[in-house]
């Protein structure tokens, strides 16, 4: 009996060791490219290509970043990306929570149709709308402008879905009590309801900011001169243009795109995970 127990325990320990080994290899494969990217961006061009490859730079250098910020206009691209992402996030937080509240808590004609239209839009890919969106934006004279970059993303179907779902869990009594106290509808919304929505707003804000920061197709189409490029557009166009073989420069560019997001993610990863899990399971 005891020998059997011991054997089972031994087998369990072996299984656990294998599991750890596999997971660790997986982790190296997943995280390794980012480490390689960050370390290589600090190497001189020749060392990035050396055989056998080095992990840590033999010669540490910031030349790649210096080039990125002086020869190319990356500070401006960074500013453009940040400006667009902040505006898009603010718009989604405000408009989606307003309409989400109406859909969850108010009774008015046309509400069902509106919700169905929004739900249907969840399925529509950006690829389907971008051609007429471009025609529209160019007829408004907004191509190659911040407004053109921001407006089509100021609202989205996902935010409404998320906010409505969350707002339904807020008790009606609370709203009714505020109404009895004589508070106006908008006052109720901003003073009573919105403060309770902080977790949902955090999730929506993070996901929207991220989607905007990483968005590619629309800024690629709308930004026609360099001064309106966002980071992904600049990086992609440089990487297939005349700088296509400048490993160091482009890896430094990738660092500038990726690292801020990774820092934010590591700081807020709990919100990320919860947001993903709740949207996934509905």
């Amino acid at each position: 009996m005891t020998t059997l127990d011991a054997r089972v325990r031994q087998r369990d320990r072996a299984a656990k060791a294998v599991l750890y080994a596999v997971l660790t290899i997986g982790l190296i494969v997943v995280v390794g490219p980012f480490v390689w990217m960050a370390l290589s961006s600090l190497k001189p061009e020749g060392e990035i290509r050396s055989v056998p490859p080095t992990w840590l730079p033999d010669t540490w250098t910031l030349d790649n970043f210096r080039d990125l910020f002086s020869r190319l206009d990356f500070p401006l691209f960074f500013f453009n990306s940040a400006l667009v992402a902040v505006a898009v996030t603010a718009g989604n937080l405000l408009f989606c929570s307003l309409v989400g509240y109406a859909l969850a808590k108010l009774r008015y004609p046309g509400k069902k149709v509106l919700f169905l239209a929004v739900l249907g839009m969840l399925m529509v890919p950006g690829m389907v709308t971008f051609v007429p969106q471009f025609v529209l934006v160019s007829n408004m004279g907004l191509t190659n402008s911040y407004a053109g970059l921001i407006l089509p993303f100021l609202v989205g179907p996902f935010g409404v879905f998320l906010m409505r779902q969350f707002l339904q869990s807020i008790p009606d009594d609370l709203i009714e009590a505020a109404r009895v106290d004589g508070a106006g509808e908008f006052r109720i919304f901003f003073r009573v309801v919105l403060p309770l929505c902080r977790p949902a707003l955090a999730t929506l804000g993070i996901l929207t900011f991220l989607a905007s920061w990483n968005n590619f197709l629309w800024p690629l189409v709308v930004a026609s001169t360099e001064d309106k490029y966002t980071l992904p557009v600049a990086l992609a166009l440089y990487s297939i243009g005349q700088n296509r073989t400048d490993f160091g420069l482009l890896l430094a560019g990738a660092v500038v795109v990726v690292v801020p997001v990774l820092i934010v993610f590591l700081l807020l990863q709990r919100h990320f995970m919860r947001g993903i899990a709740t949207t996934g399971l509905k």
Binding site: M123, V128, P132, L154, N214, G280
Partner: protein, 319 residues
Amino acid sequence: MTSAPAATAPARPVGTTPDRPAGSIRRRQRLRRALTGWAFSAPYTVLFLVFMAVPVVVSLVMSFTDLRSTDLRNPFAVNFVGLDNYTRLFSDDLFLRSSVNTLVFVVIGVPLTIVLALAAATALNSGLLRFRALFRVGFYLPVVTSIVAVAVVWRFLLDPEVGLVNNLLRVVGVDGPSWLFDTKLALPSLIVMAAWRNFGFLMVIFLAGLQAIPGELYEAATLDGASRWQQFRNVTLPLLRPTLLFGGVVTGIGYLQFFEEPFVMTQGGPLSSTLSVSYHIYNQFGFGNYGYAAAASYVLFIAIVALSVIQFRFLGDRK
């Protein structure tokens, strides 16, 4: 828009205003409710209609016209051409090629991503407690990063001459292939990269699904003498089915539109072996063929709707 008159809000007792008929009060109440509802909904609805709903409809109309970029100034020069764009699409070798590539990307990429995600989720859920958060965060890392940046990094990793992958292979004496420049290997390389980037997302969803399975089921199965594998086959998989399907459809919708990867890594080559439908649409748009691009995007849309319908079918079974 000012907020609705607040003082009169709780107008419950109808009988308190005897000189007015109840019907008119109810009508006014209904009107006020409608105004309030639409005051909250209007800003969103206007933007939603102008920038999303109308473009979806316009896109369809556009796909039946010969609209070109040069027609933007005088829309009256545009002619309706019926189904011409659609019939042309299906005799367009590049479109057919891109459709096949996209299907391959979905048909191989989605199961690969699901298997990786399920393996990771099961491993992290298997009573191993130490470092679980570390693995979870690590596997999720690529999901939050820009595809463009990731594609740039991978293009260099896979460079046949100086890339890290072939350099490492050289260290162990293997002459690595020229991944992205090989018509047979380029698309599989992109698929593996997509799975690498996306499995963390599904892993988190699957983990939540696994944790929702009651532990007693496994205890009962263990008492019945079921092995780990049997438990996985007969308890985990059936109960996780809706979550798996959801994950499969979400991933499939994303993969049907893959664009950044070939744009940055291969420009659709070599010999169109990585040209995707989205990339083809983008190219046609770039050539100024708006009507044609709209038709191609509607075909893609229909493929996505078909996938979603399958989802609702399967998920409907749950209840």
